[in-house]
């Protein structure tokens, strides 16, 4: 049905079905409309239904007599009304009886042509208008709804939800965001068709739930749905998650899916629809814990949101006013008798003039989510490179610094040139600036990443794979990746003394690095016990509070001097 209008636009000449048991009536009508339309004839309702089913995507209009042998016009109307795919074809009833009109209208007829027929101009005008109206309605319907699920698309949903808020609802309303957890796994394991079937199943249930709650729903994107409805109790929302999961699992069977629901309870009629759904989304995204089914937007989330907004608003000034300070955490080579600083990792801190010290955990994800992280990264690259340049000039030898390259940075079109220029302008060689790229960056769009990383290495940069062990690299793909240093995920290091399994994994990773003939760095080392274990396993470099916390530039320079 999707391309009906397109097809019509292309062919222009529409097709009309004339259904009448009287040959003369058929002939006259056909003669009248044949100049402008292609005409198909049926002599009774049975033949008409066969043609309609066969040519459903071709027919623009049906001219239907009511009293006919076998299946009459009323039955044809009823059949069309029952089938959503056929309902869209407009029907004009041919009748000489006034009292047949109301019943036909109720059954879905759009107009009447009285018998004996009017003059052709009148009939043609009525046909043309009915086709036009039906096509307009179809175009509207097809753009208002998502073709897969039949739910509203977001743009129309917001319009309707806004009207609902202002004119229909007289009590409290809730903005509800429904997310299907891990639907991508279904797509990967069972194919896209199964994933789509799950979405259709869930959408159908969502439609029912929204209706019961007196509201409306849309497919917002991918596996995310919005519902705007009268406020429901927590118990009801808990039941909704079960019912929605059941709808999904009825399709997936062995692979169990869950859904999570975020709710914003709105009692201020002046609130903006889009904003209340943003808040329901925040509530939905706050659910990380397994087993938690729904979350209601609350004061804490509000505070966090306001705080986030403040940080984002302050970010441009913070950058130009150099509120971001680069700290350096030394890395020690532990292979020799005495541990020796061999490089440092640049870590950024935000010292806000009013808010004070802001944790990177608070602002880095925020900047990542809002597309600002590259701005900060570039600032850190420049600051760190200049620092290495300064110390190199003062000491005569460079102590390299590693900087973070976020995954979005890898999409900067001239990244290798930009970094090379940064190094050059700071008076250092590329090999004196190490680039830390997180392991998980390699798993998404890996071809692109491998290509860019290859270019960076060609420019002479040293590539450290950060957080190794946290992603999904297998050992055989590791061998093909363009890396110079393997940096173990600190979560393994944290427990190596307590958990033998973690220790074994760390040892395995160190051995893998040896096979690849690249050094390993263990970060997050806090105790002598951890250090000894890592040394015994053959780890080359260690970073962590055991040796030093991240230091401001001056303190790091002092440390370098002290350690010679």
């Amino acid at each position: 049905m999707k391309n009906i209008v397109d097809e019509r636009e292309k062919s222009i000449r529409r097709t009309v079905l004339i259904v009448d048991d009287e040959e003369i009536n058929r002939e006259i009508l056909g003669f009248m409309v044949g100049g402008e339309y292609d005409v198909i004839y049926a002599e009774n309702g049975r033949v008409a239904l066969e043609i309609i089913n066969e040519k459903r995507n071709v027919l623009s209009l049906i001219l239907l007599d009511l009293l006919m042998p076998e299946i009459d016009g009323y039955e044809v109307l009823k059949t069309l009304k029952r089938d959503p795919a056929l309902k869209r074809i407009p029907v004009i009833v041919l009748t000489s009886e006034k009292n047949a009109e109301v019943e036909s209208l109720k059954l879905g007829a759009v107009d009447f042509i009285p018998k004996p027929y009017d003059i052709p101009d009148v009939i043609l005008a009525r046909i043309s208008r009915s086709i036009e109206l039906a096509e307009d309605r179809y175009i509207l319907n097809s753009t208002e709804t998502d073709p897969l699920t039949g739910l509203y698309i977001k743009e129309f949903f917001f319009i309707h939800a806004d009207r609902y808020k202002r004119f229909v609802s007289d009590g409290k309303t809730d903005a509800i965001v429904v997310n299907v957890n891990k639907l991508h796994l279904i797509n990967e394991l069972k194919g896209r068709a199964c994933g789509d079937a799950v979405l259709v199943g869930i959408a159908s249930k969502i439609k029912d739930l929204a209706k019961e709650a007196g509201g409306l729903a849309c497919r917002f994107a991918g596996d995310c749905f919005y519902i705007y409805a009268d406020s429901q109790s927590d118990e009801t929302y808990s039941e909704w998650t079960d019912e929605l999961a059941a709808a999904a699992n009825a399709i997936t069977h062995d692979l169990r899916l869950t859904v999570r629901i975020g709710i914003y309870r709105s009692d201020d009629e002046n609130e903006i629809i889009e904003q209340i759904f943003d808040r329901a989304t925040i509530a939905c995204n706050s659910i990380r814990q397994h087993g938690v089914k729904f979350a209601v937007y609350d004061g804490k989330m509000r505070e966090k949101e306001v705080y986030g907004e403040r940080l984002l608003a302050d970010f441009p000034n913070a950058l130009s006013e150099k509120q971001f300070k680069v700290y350096y955490q030394p890395k020690y080579a532990v292979k020799g008798e005495k541990p020796k600083i061999c490089s440092a990792e640049a870590l950024v801190r935000w010292i806000h003039p009013e808010l004070g010290f802001i944790s990177p955990a608070a602002f880095i994800p925020l900047l990542e989510n809002n597309g600002l992280i590259s701005e900060l990264d570039k600032y850190v690259w420049k600051t760190a490179a200049e620092f290495v340049g300064r110390t190199k000039r003062e000491r005569g030898v460079a102590v390299p610094v590693s900087v973070n390259v976020s995954r979005v940075d890898l999409y900067i079109s001239d990244l290798p040139e930009l970094l090379a220029k940064t190094a050059e302008e700071s008076g250092i060689e590329s090999k004196e600036l190490y680039l830390e790229i997180t392991e998980s960056a390699y798993s998404e769009n890996s071809d692109r990443i491998i290509e860019v990383v290859g270019q960076l290495r060609e420019k002479g940069f040293i590539i450290e794979m950060d957080d190794f062990g946290s992603g999904y690299s297998s050992l055989n793909t590791l061998a093909d990746l363009p890396i110079d240093v393997l940096k173990l995920d600190m979560r393994f290091i944290r427990n190596i003394c307590e958990r033998e399994k973690d220790h074994m994994l760390v040892k395995l990773m160190i051995d893998a690095a040896k096979v690849m003939e690249i050094p390993t760095v263990a970060e997050g080392v806090e105790t002598e016990e951890q250090l000894e274990l890592l040394k015994a396993d053959g780890c080359d470099i260690v970073q962590g509070y055991y040796f030093s916390k991240p230091l401001p530039e001056e303190a790091y320079v002092e440390l370098l001097k002290r350690e010679g």
Binding site: E22, E23, I24, N25, E27, F31, S96, K115, P116
Partner: protein, 113 residues
């Protein structure tokens, strides 16, 4: 041979009938000839005789539409009366009405000879 003139004389509203046929005389004459050859009128008499008013109504209704669209007024008027009586399943003596319809139809048939 059937002509527009003969139909006019018969009492048909040929202007109206022709208008429905986009003023194409040959087409109009062809349809009137089909109406003349149609034998449903005989079946109508049989249905009435057997007391099958529903069956009779279906046939009368069809004939009414056909004669009406061709604006064959002399035969359209009595068949319309019959149709309305049959629609209400009126138990009455249809013989005089039927005779009139048959007489007007015969006059029409004669035009074609």
């Amino acid at each position: 041979m059937l002509t527009i003139e003969k139909l006019k004389e018969y009492g048909a509203n040929t202007e109206e009938g022709l208008a429905r046929c986009m003023n194409n005389e040959a087409f109009y004459i062809r349809l009137v000839n089909i109406a003349i050859a149609d034998d449903k009128l005989g079946a109508l008499g049989e249905k009435i005789e057997s007391g099958d008013l529903s069956g009779a109504f279906e046939i009368a209704h069809g004939l009414k539409g056909m004669y009406g669209n061709l604006s064959l007024t002399p035969v359209f008027e009595p068949i319309s009366k019959m149709t309305e009586l049959l629609r209400a399943r009126t138990e009455t003596d249809y013989s005089s009405l039927l005779a009139e319809v048959n007489a007007r139809k015969k006059e029409l048939d004669d035009l074609a000879k």
